[in-house]
């Protein structure tokens, strides 16, 4: 579903601030793969997601989604086949617009927008049902401005918007990191539910080793802009935090020492 070949990305090339963010990334995601992507700060996880989504251009390499080379496509054009949820709950929704208006924007992702009325009565019924499935009491607040919702509610709404039109690829960029543990758990459960129900091809970045091990059918670890571990199948199922840390040490030649990952 997603194919990445020899991807390279440098920030500020040719200056003293030059930083190699991605080096020779190669990745093949099969349809229905649910990959958890883990790594320390500055490992390149978010950069990789942003390159796939088209936020950043790449220096060299190829990104293809469902067989189509999208390397040169702009961000909004790729959005037609990609659903995204960001780390910052404020980022994924328009705060001055209502819940239903935000959903209506997402409902038209990848379609041509015309001078038809921006939201139809039939859609409202769909939104009400879907919002009900979140069990956050949002189904009776269709007109409420999203700015009035809590971080967790906004993140759940963003998730719903990302899957409203079935995406060929779902990108979750540490989407629970900014939430309190209880809300994070709830949003994670919802994500798992939507991914399983829709058999969505998903790439989820996380800082949390436990989450990375528990969720998904494949785990990828990044370090210094490279993919250093790729664990799948039965091996993934048997994985423990200790085992993962040992394997990290072997693969990178360093001891795993990122507080944020270890403590979470």
């Amino acid at each position: 579903m997603l194919t990445i070949k020899e991807l390279h990305k440098k920030f500020n090339p040719g200056t003293v601030n030059e930083k190699t963010a991605l080096q020779d990334i190669n990745l093949n995601m099969a349809e229905g793969d649910f990959i958890t992507l883990i790594g320390g700060n500055g490992a390149g996880k978010s950069t990789l997601l942003n390159c796939i989504a088209g936020v950043y251009g790449v220096d060299s390499g190829i990104i293809a989604i469902a067989g189509e080379n999208v390397t040169k496509f702009s961000e909004h054009k790729r959005a037609g086949v990609i659903g995204r949820v960001f780390q910052d709950p404020m980022m994924g929704t328009a705060s001055n617009m209502g819940i239903e208006e935000n959903l209506a924007l997402a409902y038209r992702r990848g379609k041509r927008r015309s001078l038809k009325w921006g939201i139809s009565q039939a859609e409202r019924q769909i939104y009400r049902e879907l919002l009900g499935s979140l069990e956050l009491g949002l189904e009776d607040r269709l007109g409420t401005k999203v700015g009035l919702l809590s971080g967790g509610q906004r993140q759940a709404l963003t998730l719903l918007m990302a899957i409203l039109i079935r995406p060929k690829l779902l990108l979750l960029d540490e989407h629970t990191a900014a939430l309190d543990p209880k809300t994070a758990e709830k949003v994670l459960q919802l994500s798992e539910k939507f991914i399983n129900e829709g058999k969505l091809t998903t790439l989820m970045v996380t800082h949390n080793m436990r989450h990375a091990i528990k969720h998904g059918n494949r785990l990828i670890m990044m370090h210094d802009g490279r993919i250093i571990l790729d664990i799948k199948g039965e091996e993934k199922q048997k994985l423990t935090v200790e085992g993962l840390m040992k394997r990290f040490g072997k693969a990178s030649g360093e001891e795993f020492a990122d507080d944020r990952v270890l403590l979470s």
Binding site: H76, L105, L115, K116, G118
Partner: protein, 297 residues
């Protein structure tokens, strides 16, 4: 006195068209677009020159609208395609338009005295000039309120609003934010130029200088409207804009009548806007005081 108020209302209605244009960029797109300073004078210049050349005044006014849209297109391309910051793009268009407007006018100003204008039809029904301006102004404003209310409820209109509110989210939902910004600027500047053409015909002359300070007047009207007449929903906001523009004109007429020299007008307007924009800061100081008075906390 009544004459002064009527004059202020008629002028306010014409400026309300411009205010709605400023609202589209300032509030919906979240851009302070300075090109309106040039496009209002451009609208006046195109309207006046076309009428002088014998064109039907309504067609001349439509030409002004198209001219303004082109000005907005220029700013939009500078900003979204050439990646020049929005404020600077507006300034560049504004300065460029000064020369363009002089070319259109051929000299610093054109008089429209004794020429047929868009108001002549209404004057032929026996209305005096001021009532004719109010009648047409009202028709124009109500028509535009309806049109804008409809447009910003459509799929494209919603996409423009999302772009101004959260461009990152808009792109993630497949919206071409660059095109939406251009479209917003085109509509906004078209309306501003339309307003310029209507104003020029009501005052019977077009002047290359008439745009100076207009962005501040537009902002003042937007803010007065929001503070005094509310912003509950979009329709309410649009009406508030119109009332804000009229209120601004009445305030100006009154302070002039109270003896303020006309040359101080721009200072007065700038101060009004500065105070209105800083209101949230003052409020945040006042809030704790009010709460402790009520015995909360």
């Amino acid at each position: 006195m009544l004459q002064i108020i009527l004059g202020a209302v008629s002028l306010g209605l014409l400026w309300a068209v411009m205010t709605m244009g400023v609202y589209i960029t300032y509030r919906i797109l979240n851009i302070a677009d300075l090109s309106v300073e040039g496009s209002i004078a451009m609208g006046a210049a195109i309207g006046a020159q076309c009428i002088m050349r014998g064109m039907n005044p309504y067609a001349a006014t439509a030409m002004a609208f198209v001219g303004g849209m082109l000005a907005g297109l220029a700013t939009g391309i500078l900003h979204t395609r050439l990646k020049i910051p929005a404020l600077l793009s507006g300034i560049l268009t504004m300065i460029a338009l000064y020369s363009v407007n002089l070319r259109i006018l051929g000299k610093a100003n054109i008089s429209l005295l004794r020429m047929d204008t868009v108001y002549t039809v209404f004057e032929n029904f026996g209305l005096n000039k001021s009532s004719a301006v109010i009648t047409l102004g009202l028709l124009c404003v109500l028509g535009l309120v309806g049109l804008l209310y409809w447009f910003f409820g459509t799929e494209i209109g919603c996409a423009i609003r999302a772009t101004g509110n959260n461009p990152q989210m808009a792109r993630a939902q497949g919206i071409d934010t660059g095109n939406m910004i251009i479209l917003g600027l085109v509509i906004s500047n078209g309306m501003v130029a339309l307003s310029g053409a209507l104003i020029a015909q009501s005052q019977s002359f077009a002047d290359v200088q008439m745009g100076i300070g207009s962005i501040v007047i537009g902002l003042a009207s937007v803010i007065i409207g929001e503070v005094l007449f509310g912003k509950r929903n979009f329709f309410n906001r649009l009406i508030a804009l119109v009332l804000g523009a009229i209120t601004y004109r009445i305030i100006i007429a009154l302070v002039l009548r109270m003896g303020m020299p006309a040359s101080d007008l721009k200072l007065f307007t700038a101060m009004t806007v500065a105070i209105a924009l800083s209101l949230p800061v003052f409020r945040s100081y006042l809030k704790p005081l009010q709460r402790s008075k009520k015995g909360e906390m």
